[in-house]
Amino acid sequence: MARWIRKRQGTDSLPLSLSRRRLYIIPTRAGVGFGLVLVLMLVAGLNYANSTALFLTFLLTGFALVSMHQCHRNLLGARLLAATAQPTFAHRAGTLSLIFENPAAAARFRIAAAVGDGSVTPTDLPAYGRGVIALSVPAPKRGVVQVDRLHLITRHPFGLFRAWTWVHAPIEMLVYPQPNGSLPMPTHHGSRSGARSVAHTGADEWLGLRPFRDGDSPRQVDWKAYAREAPLLVKEYSASGADLRMLDFGVLSNLPLEAKLEQLARWVVDAEDGGERYGLILPGSQIKPDRGPEHRHHCLAQLAMFGLEDTQRGEDTAT
């Protein structure tokens, strides 16, 4: 069934308007129960030639059919603008954010989404408004998790019918290796002449303050100044070669591959948290020392994809 639908709909690209062709609808269990109640009322009304009961039966029948259209309408025309997944560490759940838009004047309620057959999370879209659904995606191991099938459902209003659709958009979530291992961080590295090793006691040279930029570590913010109602400032230290760490794959010689990557991830995370400059050396590639969230991501992404580029990619799908 799923395969047939996938073949029928093809691969989707975002932003995506939910069209009539891709919406499916069936009665829920409550809807079937409601139908049984209606049948009983009809039989009783016909048997006793009871006009009131018959009229109310017909009214509720019409109501159920209207609710079917309303349920269908609730999804029809809604737009899935974006689906983005922040990278996460292995063995932790990642978050997939879906952004929906309602382009019509009528509000939409309880539009729920799930990854594959997972549990659903709903959101409401006001008229011309947007809604965000944050879905949890399990990340069993490092590499890339591909969410190749999203399930969008609604049972609003009345819960008598369930309208749903599948979205086959290529959504990827990068999974870093789990930071693990207890080896001490290398303190010295010789690739750069004149570099001296410094214990990471923070004996950096004070440079001054600069305005806060997105991505700055909260550890570097001058909270005391902020408490004095100054703008958000960041303490800047000179790291001119002083606490430079090169995290080398090569020094971890007697560990299995995954353990090596986990240890390197541990170091990257710790170095970033310590506000140090660090670089990464992997067989066949090298990342120059730097710091900041982008650099951290760059390093962790290298670790995540190490050795997977062609062989395993595309195998780990979440569905």
Binding site: T61, V66, H69, A105, V120, F158, G159
Partner: protein, 680 residues
Amino acid sequence: MAKIQPPEGSRRGLNWATGAFCAGMLLNVDRVPSWVPVAALIFVAWRLMAASRALRLPGVITRSLLAILLVAGIVLRFHTLNGLSAGTALLILMGSVKLLETRAPRDQYIVIGSAVFLLLAACLDRQGLVHAPLYLLHVWLCCAALAVVGYGSTASSATASSSSATAALFDSRAAMMLGARSLVFALPLALMLFMFFPRLPGAFWAIPRSDEALTGLGDSMSPGSITQLTSSYEVAFRAHFEGSPPPPQERYWRGPVLHEFDGYTWRRTARNLARMQPLQYLGQEYRYRVSLEPSAQRWWFSLDTATGSPEPNVAFTYDYQLISAKPVTPGTNYTLVSHTSTRASSPLPQLSRRYDTELHGERNPRSRALAVKLRSGVASDEAYVSAVLDFLHTGGFQYTLTPPRLGFDSVDDFLFNTRLGFCGHYASAFTVMMRAAGVPARVVTGYLGGEWNPIGRYFIVRQSDAHSWAEVWLEGRGWTRVDPTAVVAPARLQRGILDILPNAVSAPARFVWSQPWLAALLQRWDALNTAWNDRVIKFNYDDQLRLLQRLGFESPGAEELGWAFGSGLVGWMLWIAWHVGRQTRRTPPDKLARAYTRLCKKLGRAGIARESHQGPLSFAKQVGELRPDLQANVHPLLLRYAQLRYGPAEQDSYAAHVREFARQVSELTLPARAAGTPPR
């Protein structure tokens, strides 16, 4: 496929489901023993307190014990679980016990389902005009409850902030509105199905009705045992005449005919051997429709004398009475033709003569002696009838509804001692006198008169109009109606019983009678109710066919009904699909945005497409770069849009400004690419 299976339904859903259930209980509250709603309300309170953590919910064992106890209570009270009242009580109790274990949305759906069943139970019992709005309100409440429960059933695991924001969007008011809107959309279908959904001509099984006492004429009469005749103001039936109604002295409504007299009680004994006397119908023909109210009896009343039975399963007996095969429990409508004047076309058979001159043994000797004496003094039966009537007229008899109790020889006691009685006494005594003289005679019970309702143009015949009179066989004329009460209380013929004896009915009815405006108001209400009953409640298969005939079908049958039904259904589905689908179409939210979209489209056609990230000001700049010749026209408009959209709000004249902007956009004509502008 993903399933939505949250562990706990929403609190709001619980409240609404409980509310719908309580409303359903309210519709039935007067038909069940009073301890039933009390017990149910205790459970409701228990559940609601448990929801606010004041009490704990009972466990499985307690619930099972409660259920067994309550079922036992019902069985003790009704001795059955079958039947409308017992079933309703059971439904209320089981629904409220179910409430005690209501946690998931599924349980809340079941509670709403039981509320719908309670509505069905109420419908089966009462369908008056007063109840219809209540039923509609209840349906609305159930639908709104469904909306709230449905909303809560899709669990919100999102953060608290987002859930509070959505709660504001879809609150109880929105649920009520949604329910009302859906029902309004459903209304055309409901009406169409009501008119064209094929009805059954008969019933599969009969409803076991219990303990509802329905009044009506009985099949026996013993005037001597009654010391206080209390008549109810209840309606027996209504009669619509086509053309002019008969004069007051002809408004005799024939009911059970009583043949057998044991000296004290008259009985309607079935004489299967008797043959119907063929009649010659004389005088004016009256065509009329009778709307019979429900009763426990099988009598169908007709204006004396009907020409035949309106339906195959209603017998037209040899004594011109209409008797249905089943009691008139749901009430019914029928059309009849009657003539108030008839003549027998053949002599009375010996068997019938013997039956109707029979007097038991030696009872009422004085009356017999008087009869023989009076008969011997006159030449013919006609003269004898006049002599007996004269005796009643001049003998000091009085009409009363509180006669003294009569002795063993009831007729003797009445004629020679008490001389006080109502119609039954006079009819009984007169018939005995006739029989004693060898003239065939019988007692006819029924109704006399009726209240004219000028709004609905029909007669209301009430139980208080009940009457009895005598019929005698006169050679050459056949069965002839003689009303001995008329010689004693002539006013009874002309007016209702209330005019001559105001104490005949209960105090509220007397009060209504004494207030003309109130009586007029009640007549109006009765007319409305009657229309409702005739047009809506008693709408059946025949009415459906008549409706089709009026819609232009030549000879409608089930097939035509199916066609009308099917095409109506398809039409309605298309309408709903169009109407509901219309709301999903993409429309800019307001007038200003629509005008701006139009402007951008115009510019797009002129070759300057706005990128989706561009605001009005940067777009204006781009226009200036691309088409300097348009700048004079377009630039002010784009600036104006930015000002209207983002500028400080001009409260008072904002709408006017927007209108003006929209007009300017409509009037804007973009010249083709100006000569000399280099294409880019």
